[in-house]
Point group: C2
Chain length 364, copies 2
């Protein structure tokens, strides 16, 4: 989707991806197969480009830092990626910058988690998160009582007090080199009950103006604190007391902004290019209320992917499917998404329900 946005401006994009058959292979100027976490691969790839950016934060930061030292433009900056890669550093960053986030305790071993259970039973329920390499629900365990301590990671992590939340919100922010900041409207995400994956979202979020201002302000302050150049997706909790807390952030285009490709004047993808190329940031106004439904691979289906029901979707007005071109479907793998738009929020909700029933990603 980032590549699609690059086409309009005739940008020449070189892509590094571990998968030789990555869907982007046929959509970019030049493709290199290689590991994003290997120092030499990333360093050599970076030598050949003018500006280096990422779509995933699990990347060799040392190589990016070396490139930056040599004068290469690397956005987001490696220093920002380094903090965000590690949930421990990330949480500490919020605390250091007086940014609201759920209370937490840094842990080094499973025994540390057990100690909390004994010494501060009020801290539970909590989530134990692996410091590094968690992704899309992996690397997170809910610790409700002593019985759960065995699930905690025996590695550096962070124990985060569970937030009894009303809603999960997100605000995508862009910042360019000259320090201009522009936020997208606040969205509301609905997660899959078990998977810690976004099932669908609504934009704008159904929240009061006061809460919205709070969310927008926190997202903007977080962006300023990081001083990031590029996009920052700020995921937030709205708790039952009306407090807005930072959950976590991602320094790149994010699932919570996919609907902007159709629903907003400027998409998050175009905005990312504007930010990292130091162009003026684009207008983020929405044309219409929108929803986004993630297309996850069906349970118990693994193999070559088939999108069953495309025709159903195309018969609905204001419904836009996006398939990611992944050859193989697996249970709950993100295979695409559907953007839904309507002037009426009621009709929007009906359409979302129709979309969720209308399409399945199965294997042949």
């Amino acid at each position: 989707m980032l590549l699609q946005a690059s086409i309009d401006w005739n940008l020449r994009v070189h892509v590094l991806d571990a998968d030789a058959e990555a869907p982007c292979r046929h959509l970019c100027t030049q493709f290199t197969q290689g590991s994003l976490t290997d120092y030499d691969t990333v360093y050599q790839f970076g030598q050949a480009v003018d500006v280096l950016t990422i779509e995933i934060e699990r990347v060799n930061v040392e190589a990016l830092e070396a490139l930056e030292r040599e004068g290469k433009r690397v956005f987001p900056q490696p220093s920002v990626i380094r903090i965000i890669q590690d949930k421990r550093l990330q949480k500490q960053f919020y605390r250091d910058h007086n940014l609201p986030t759920a209370d937490f305790i840094l842990t080094d071993t499973r025994a540390d988690v057990a100690l909390v259970e004994i010494q501060q039973p009020d801290f539970l329920p909590a989530f134990h998160k692996l410091g590094r390499d968690g992704y899309d629900g992996r690397g997170v365990q809910r610790i409700a009582s002593v019985a759960d301590v065995g699930k905690a990671f025996d590695a550096p992590g962070v124990l985060e007090k569970a937030v009894d939340f009303e809603k999960e919100l997100a605000v995508i922010v862009a910042r360019n080199e000259r320090g201009e900041i522009q936020t997208f409207p606040t969205v509301e995400m609905v997660f899959h009950p078990d998977l810690n994956l976004v099932e669908y979202l609504f934009a704008p979020a159904e929240i009061s103006e006061a809460i919205d201002l709070q969310a927008q302000d926190i997202a903007r302050r977080t962006t300023e604190a990081f001083g990031i150049v590029g996009l920052l997706a700020v995921e937030l909790f709205l708790d039952k007391q009306g407090n807005v807390l930072i959950n976590e952030v991602a320094p790149r285009p994010h699932n919570s902004g996919h609907h902007t490709m159709r629903a907003n004047v400027t998409s998050q993808f175009e905005q990312h290019w504007r930010a990292i190329l130091n162009y003026p940031l684009g207008d983020t106004t929405a044309y219409q209320p929108a929803a986004m439904v993630n297309l996850l691979g069906e349970e118990n289906q693994t193999g070559p992917a088939v999108y069953e029901g495309l025709e159903n979707l195309l018969a609905m007005p204001g419904v836009f499917p996006f398939f990611y071109g992944k050859a193989i479907t697996k249970p709950f793998r993100k295979m695409g998404h559907v953007t839904v738009m309507d002037q009426s929020l009621d009709t929007l909700r009906e359409k979302v329900s129709d979309v969720r029933q209308g399409i399945r990603v199965i294997s042949t």
Copy 2:
């Protein structure tokens, strides 16, 4: 732009283009360099695909007909392309189907044009058009008096009575295999005074509802008469008496629909895929009034293209540049376009003026 729209649905697109360095080369699943007018090249290329379509009508129709006979799905149909390729057949088609068009006389030689001048002086001023291979202003001569007869083509052509027009309009229509038809809103095109090239357009056209209904009805009836599967761009004259007449048609995505990529729920490009793949046609409603400004290569500039002023454009809200990635600019070559959107028609006009002053395509 057709390729960009194909990405969302994960279509695998093979492209045949005469230029080995065509900008689309890096945006498609498979690229073949070869002549579109060579029988064997087109025939062999067509063997390997499921559905064959075109973006330019100067293509070897015999090869398409052979493929169609063998059961290949070719849309638009070769029979339609054959008529549209030849302005003589095209004009005769309108006459045969009672579709309103300017009066005309078929000519075989320059002497035939001279004869008209002598026998029917009232028929002038007229345009003499080459039957085949005219394109973007080439193959058209204005014949106002006997002095101009030397400019007429000494080859099969059509002499068309000049229409004293108020405006030039266009309606893009889509028709799928099951016969569903959907039209885009009527647009108003402003041509370069000398070049017979669209300089800019406004959507919707500023015309009365009655004229609009007439334009939409003629476009729809023309589409039905052709029975085309795909897009038909119908260019129309609105004459000083309030009559709407067909000027010419194109069986493909068209310059008069480029703004739909941002301004309408469904773009002409997505609509083309829907039509030729026999999916339900998309909603063509516009989100906002829009304009489109063609970016033509500057006069007296030939060489590697530079887009001067991109930053000016990106600082204007609701302004979307599209560069086509052509390496070399030439005077008046179509190098890209800019879509402009605004709720207010007055602001829209101001933005168009700013865009036209803000960017130039020059050579290094």
